[in-house]
Amino acid sequence: MLVRRYRIIVQHLSFVILMYGGRFGIQLGPAVPCFACPYVSGCGGQCYLMGLQGYIGFGLTLNELMGYQGLRALAYFLLFAFLVVMLGKLWCGFVCPFGLFQDWITWLRRKLGFPEGKFSPETLKALGPIKYILLGWLMVGPVLINLGLLHSDFYLPFCSICPGKPILPLFALETQYFAIDSTNTATLVITTLSVLIAGGTLAGIFARPRFFCTFCPLLALIHLFKPITLPHLLKDPALCHGCGTCQRGCPMDVRKIFKDGGDPDVQVSDCINCGECLGSCAAGGALCYKYAGKTLLASSPGLALGKGKAHRHGGIR
């Protein structure tokens, strides 16, 4: 499948840049809209979630908000917003290093022929809000610390439990984030929780593709920008054969893409814009990817079979 081939190339290039870029003088800054983990020594960019927690946590006084810290926080937010508006969830499907790590595990499982785990629609629906709860927690936590209502060792509340923190540094041969810190009760709880979450995430990833993305607060944050992002995945229900291939190809098991609802907007909050649905759909023009209103790619039998061209009429008009 052509889309998958190109995606794999982009993902690996992004992985090298975001994980090791700093060693070659590449630094994309602290507003990268994907899991470019700052705990990896020599990384080439930093996940915006860390900055977001840090900026929220510095203080709430007018002086602080209007001072250099406030302006810096605003600048980074604007940079993050710009990057999200330009590429939307392509950051998740094509750039995120933790996403690629999950795809590697899935590739390995498929090679070994282990069956894939699935969440029932009810479970998926129930799990959906968790990413928004985590997003809320990472924004409220620093405020609680600032107000003295939470122990300061809970600083960066999401990073301290994020599975990317112990896992991604392994690619720089750094194992220290798997250590349990028993300095005090707070650090003991946090580090134990972190290791447990990382272990659970690894098991989950082996069972189900892009397991962690279901809970990713960054995906939730990017989704909030949906009305103003330039890339959009759309469906023309009139051209859909209803074969369900799109849903089977979807690592996130997004059902709306297959359901016959007549709604062209199929980019739901779980969608990571990996393009697997579009690339596997053999109905000419049923799914298309638009950028700033212009069709970039549309589904076609040739594209699905891996050697053809994109649908020449461009799908939805």
Binding site: R110, K111, G113, F114, P115, E116, P121, P209, A238, L239, C240, H241, G242, C243, G244, T245, R248, G249, P251, D260, E276, S280, A282, A283, G284, G285, A286, P301, G302, A304, L305, G306, K307, G308, R312, H313
Partner: protein
């Protein structure tokens, strides 16, 4: 009793001769066409001997007879069986069984029943019958009128509702049952690697089909040749079939650059149409022949005997044994646009897609008498097609040639309406 048996044997012998003459005449007519090219010879030769013994000898492996395309071809091949789709396009075979069957029964199934009488080899192989339409649901019992099956028959219950997980699970269990059946009939045990290989092989054929379809959209292959080429899928090993198909595609692609390339039958194409409705099986190419004689050209179809003969693509994500079976089961079931399914409004999508890609100005709905789901479907589809600004013509017929002139006249009258559409 002996006299009755003799009479029966004589009737069978006469019908067999007529059926062979019918096949032979149709092949001769196709070979004599102006747009016949040597690369088509392989496909026409596959139909020279209609018997299942000829297929068995050609493929050199056990064969299983199959009705309807719901049963995944890949599964048969992975378990060491060659699936032979029984086409039922012979008028002579249909006539043989007609006196003992309802007048308004599907002529295709009459013909298939006739074929089971004419070809004793068909009774020596296991049968797989997906119960799609009502006629197929009673096919096994109907065959009992003529003596019953000699080998085991597997009937697959096809869920008519596609929405929801329940029907998916039901069909998956049926497909799993097919795998068990094939093993019991002496096939190989189901292995993940073999199934994956079989899926990849069919994907290669699908790609060649796609290229042939693209050439068809440009008017570079006549619908009768297109149809017989695709039907060859069930008459030879996939690797040989694919090689010949790719050779044909290359030859037709070369033809694309020549000045007379868009003139099948040496005529001038005046109206591109989309053919939908009941399947058209060799040697009964009556409707295809009449459409061409009327100066129209079929640039696309959604017949299960032609463009829908295989699902377009099997997407394999989960490569476990269950995952592969699930992918096959869902693709063959959910993607099928046969009117026997409830809520089948997505069937119009293929027509819409084809009209986006080719100069199609009208839709011809081919309805075989007795094919009630298609009959009902035609009325629903007519409205949709009209809403797109396309012309629509419903033709109800059977395998006899008595109505040919009448149909030709209607098609000839249909042609100027397409011209008028072009003027608009």
């Amino acid at each position: 009793m002996a006299g009755s048996a003799d009479r029966r044997e004589r009737a069978l012998s006469r019908a067999r001769d007529k059926a062979l003459a019918e096949w032979s005449a149709e092949l001769g007519r196709l070979r004599a066409r102006e747009d016949y090219i040597p690369e088509l010879a392989y496909f026409l030769d596959l139909f020279e001997d209609p018997s299942i013994a000829a297929v068995e000898e050609r493929v050199g492996m056990p064969v299983a007879a199959m009705l309807c395309l719901q049963a995944p071809v890949e599964l048969f091949l992975a378990q060491g069986f060659f699936p032979v789709k029984i086409y039922g396009g012979s008028y002579a075979a249909s006539n043989l069984t007609s006196p003992r069957l309802p007048a308004l029964m599907c002529p295709t199934l009459k013909s298939i029943l006739g074929a089971t009488e004419l070809d004793p080899g068909l009774m020596r192989v296991p049968w797989v019958i997906p119960l799609t339409c009502d006629w197929l649901a009673r096919f096994k019992e109907t065959r009992d009128l003529f003596g019953g099956f000699e080998k085991p028959v597997l009937e697959l219950e096809v869920p008519r509702i596609k929405e929801g997980d329940g029907p998916k699970e039901l069909w998956l269990s049926e497909v799993h049952g097919l795998s068990v059946f094939l093993k019991e009939q002496g096939g190989l045990p189901l292995k993940r690697g073999r199934l994956l290989e079989s899926i990849k092989r069919l994907e290669g054929i699908r790609l060649a089909f796609l290229r042939l379809t693209e050439l068809r959209r440009q008017g570079l292959i006549g619908s009768q040749f297109f149809s017989i080429v695709l039907s060859g899928l069930f008459r030879d090993l996939p690797e040989r079939f694919q090689d010949s198909l790719e050779t044909l595609v290359s030859a037709l692609s070369d033809k694309a650059g020549k000045p007379d390339a868009k003139a099948p039958l040496g005529g001038v194409r005046t109206g591109g149409v989309f053919l939908t409705g009941s399947p058209v099986y060799f040697p009964n190419f009556k409707i295809l022949n009449l459409i061409e004689r009327a100066g129209l050209q079929v640039l696309g179809d959604d017949l299960c005997s032609s463009e829908r003969i295989l699902p377009r693509h099997v997407e394999v994500g989960d490569k476990s044994e269950r995952g592969l079976l699930k992918a096959l089961a869902e693709t063959y079931h959910l993607g099928c646009l046969c009117p026997v399914f409830a809520a089948n409004d997505r069937r119009a999508a293929i027509i819409k897609e084809a009209t986006n890609l080719a100069d199609i100005r009208g839709v011809v709905f081919h309805l075989l008498k007795g094919c009630h789901p298609y009959d009902l479907d035609s009325f629903m589809l007519e409205e949709t097609v009209h809403s797109w600004g396309l012309r629509f013509l419903r033709i109800e017929t059977d395998y006899s040639h008595e109505d040919s002139q009448n149909i030709l006249t209607r098609l000839e009258a249909f042609r100027p309406t397409l011209e008028a559409k072009r003027a608009v």
